[in-house]
Symmetry: C2
Subunit: 431 residues, 2 copies
Amino acid sequence: MGKQVVRLGFLGLGTVGSAVYEVLHRNAEDIAMRAGVDFQVRRIAVAHPEKPRPVPVDRDLLTGNAWEVVEDPEVDVIVEVMGGIEPTRSYLLKAIESGKSVVTANKQLMANRGRELLDAAEARGVDLYFEGSVGGGIPIIRPLKESLAADRITEILAILNGTTNYILTKMAQEGWTFSQALADAQRRGFAEQDPTEDIDGHDAASKLAILASVAFNTRVTASDVPREGIAKISPRDIAYAQELGYTIKLLAIGRNTDDHVEVRVHPVLIPSHHPLATVSNEYNAVLIRGDAVGEVMFYGRGAGGLPTASAVISDIVDIGRNIRFRANGRIRCTCYRQKPVLPAEQVEVPFYLSLQVVDRPGVFARIAGVFGEEEVSIASIVQKSRGETAEVIMITHKTREGQMRRVLDRLRDLPVVKEVSNVIRVEDSEG
Amino acid sequence: MGKQVVRLGFLGLGTVGSAVYEVLHRNAEDIAMRAGVDFQVRRIAVAHPEKPRPVPVDRDLLTGNAWEVVEDPEVDVIVEVMGGIEPTRSYLLKAIESGKSVVTANKQLMANRGRELLDAAEARGVDLYFEGSVGGGIPIIRPLKESLAADRITEILAILNGTTNYILTKMAQEGWTFSQALADAQRRGFAEQDPTEDIDGHDAASKLAILASVAFNTRVTASDVPREGIAKISPRDIAYAQELGYTIKLLAIGRNTDDHVEVRVHPVLIPSHHPLATVSNEYNAVLIRGDAVGEVMFYGRGAGGLPTASAVISDIVDIGRNIRFRANGRIRCTCYRQKPVLPAEQVEVPFYLSLQVVDRPGVFARIAGVFGEEEVSIASIVQKSRGETAEVIMITHKTREGQMRRVLDRLRDLPVVKEVSNVIRVEDSEG
C-alpha cells in the first residue's frame, strides 16, 4: 500500500533551499520510513526561474510568482527559505490562513514577527515550525519544546554566531587583530563582504530572541535584546583575559526569574574551563540550565546549507507525522506567559576594564577612589606596562550597568586617565 | 474549561521515581501548559509501601502489588522506574496489551528486550518512550528520532558512563591510580560499592545498543557490543597519551555503513583537541555525525534523579500530547532495517601499545620485525625509560583486531619482550 503523500511548496531555492531539495531526494527512503508519509515537492518560487541551479531540479516546478505556491490548493506545507520580513510575512500569513502548515528558517521574521505568525497558526490549527532559524543544524528549538518540557529553564548561554566565534578564535590562536581575522573569515566564506549583521551582534540577538521566547515561555523580540559587537576587542584584551584564566567569546545570554527575563548579546570573559570556552572556529553551542536537568549543552555547525537543511527537514518530517495523524497544532506556541524584559541598566555583572593612565604614584588611589565613591567594588587591579603611559587592567565584582556607566564617565574626566580602552563584561556564573 | 486529565501509574519510587513525582508536582502548571493536558498520579507500585519516602507522597497511592497498577483501567500511562528485566518486562507487556502507553528509563530492558516491547507497542498502537534510558537528562533519543530525521547517521562517539569518566578525569588531573580514583568516586557517590557494571563497560554497552538501534535504524542488543573496561589503564598510559597529544576516555563507538553496523565500548586515545576530550568528571556527551547535519554534540549530566526525571517527564508530556490528539503511535519503532553487526576481529583501528623490553641494541629491530611480518604498520615507536628493563610506547596505523591479536601473541613469545603492559585503541577519525 502506498504511503500518504504530503506535498511541499518551496519559497526560495538558495543555499538552504537547494540543500533541502537535495537531501529530501537523497535520503527520501529513510525520511519516508521515519515520517510514515511520502513527501513530494510540488512547486518552488524563485526570483529568477531561468537561472542555472546547483542541484538538478525539475524546471517545471519553478515559478517566479510566490503567490502561485502559497495559493496552490495542492500544496500542504510551505517551506520558507527565502528570508526577509516582507513580503515573506504576507506569504506565510496567507498560507496559514488557507490551512497550510509552514516550516521556516527565517530568524529575522521569527525574531520580529513571531507572535503574529504563531498566533495565526494556532488560530488556524496548523503548524509553524522554525528549527532552522537558530543554530543551523543543531537541534535546539524542538529539544526546548519537547525534551525539556519538564523543566523551568533558568538560563541560556550561547554562541549563536559562527562568524564572530571564528574571528575571536583566530585572534586568540594566531594573535591576529580583529581586522586581520575578519579578512581571513571573509576569504574563507565564514563572513559576508558586509559583515555588520554578524559582527555587531544583530544575528545573535535575533536568534537569542527566538530561543528566549521558547525557553522562558514569554515573547522576546529582537528589539528587546541589547547588544554589542566584537569590533572593539583587541589582541591585548584577549591576551590579558588568558592570563587571568578567561576566554573572550561573543555570548548570547538569557536569564529567567519569577519576575522578569534578562537578555543580551555582547563579548564576555568566560572562565577558560567553561564548556563554551572550548567551542572554537565557526561552531555554535547552546548551554541551557533547567531546574531538573541541570546543565545541558548542544553543539554543532550553526550555519551552512546542509546543516540548516537537516533542521528544516526535521520540521517537515514532524509536520508529516502530524498530518498523518491529523494532529497539527499538537505543539502550541510556548509563550503562554507575559514577563517584562529587565532594563539593561539593571543587569548586574562583573566588568573587565583596560585603562591607559599616567604612570606615576597615586594614580591607583585616584582610580580606586572613583570606584569606591560609586560603590563599585574592585576584584583586581593590575598594571600591565610601564612608560609615560601605563596600561591598567581591572576586574570588578558584580555591578549594575548603570553604576558602571557613572564610573566610566568619571574615569574619563580624571586627568590621570588618558583613555578607557575597553570595557568587557565577565560571565562566571556557576548556576 | 478544565484540561483533559492523563492518569499515570508508577512502577517504582526510588531515586528516579521520587524525582519524577517531585518535578511533576513542582512544575505542574508549566508542564500542563506545554502538554495541553493535566497529569495525575493515580497509583504507585513500590516494594515496601510502609517505608518512609524522601518526597511527600500521598500514601493512599502506594501499593505493594505492581499488577494492580498495570491492570488499573484508570491508568493511561505506565511510568516504569523500577529497573531490571523481569518481572518488569511482563508488567510492561501486560500494560501495552491493555492499551496503556509506557515510559521507561530502563536501559537493561531496552537494550536486551527492546524489539519485543516496541513491536508490542506498535501492534497495539500505543507509545513506548525511553529517553531516560540513555544519558540521564541529555536529550538524545528524541533528537535522533525527530531532530535528525533528515540524516543518514554514520557515526556515534559517546561518553555514556559518568563513573568511568570521573575516574579517568581524576587519574589524568591528579595522577591517581585507577584504584585511588575509584575509591574517591565511591566516596562521592559517583560509583557503586560493586562498580563492575560501570567500570567493565556493561552500562555503556547497553546504552550504546539503544542509541545505535535508534540512530542506525537496525536492532542492536547489548550482547552485540564487544566491550572492555578501564581497570587496566595506568597513570603512565595517561601521561604517555598526553605527551602524544591524546586523552584517554571510555568511549562508546558506533558506525553505520551500507552493509553493516559496528559497535564497541572500550578505552581509547582521542586527540586532546577533540570535543569529547574536554568532557570531564561525571559528565556525559554524545557526538553524532550525519550526512546533512555534520557533527553535533549533546552534553550534560548522564545520571542522577532529577536529570533522569527531566527525560522521563519529557516522554510523559509527549505521550500526553499524543493522547490529546489521539496520535499515539505517531513515532514508530525506528528499526526498519536489518543490518549485520561487524564481527570484532574485522574492526580496523590504530593501536597504542606499552611494552616492557630488555634494554639492549637490536630490540627495536626484533619488535618491528614481528609487526612487519604480520603486515601491521607502525606509526611511532619511542623508548620511554632505560635500565635493565626499558619501556617502549608504540602507535600503529589502522590494523584489524585479528591481526593485532597475532602480533600480540608473537610479541609475548619474544624473549626480549618481558611484558605487554597495555594495548589501547586509538580513535582519530575526522569524519
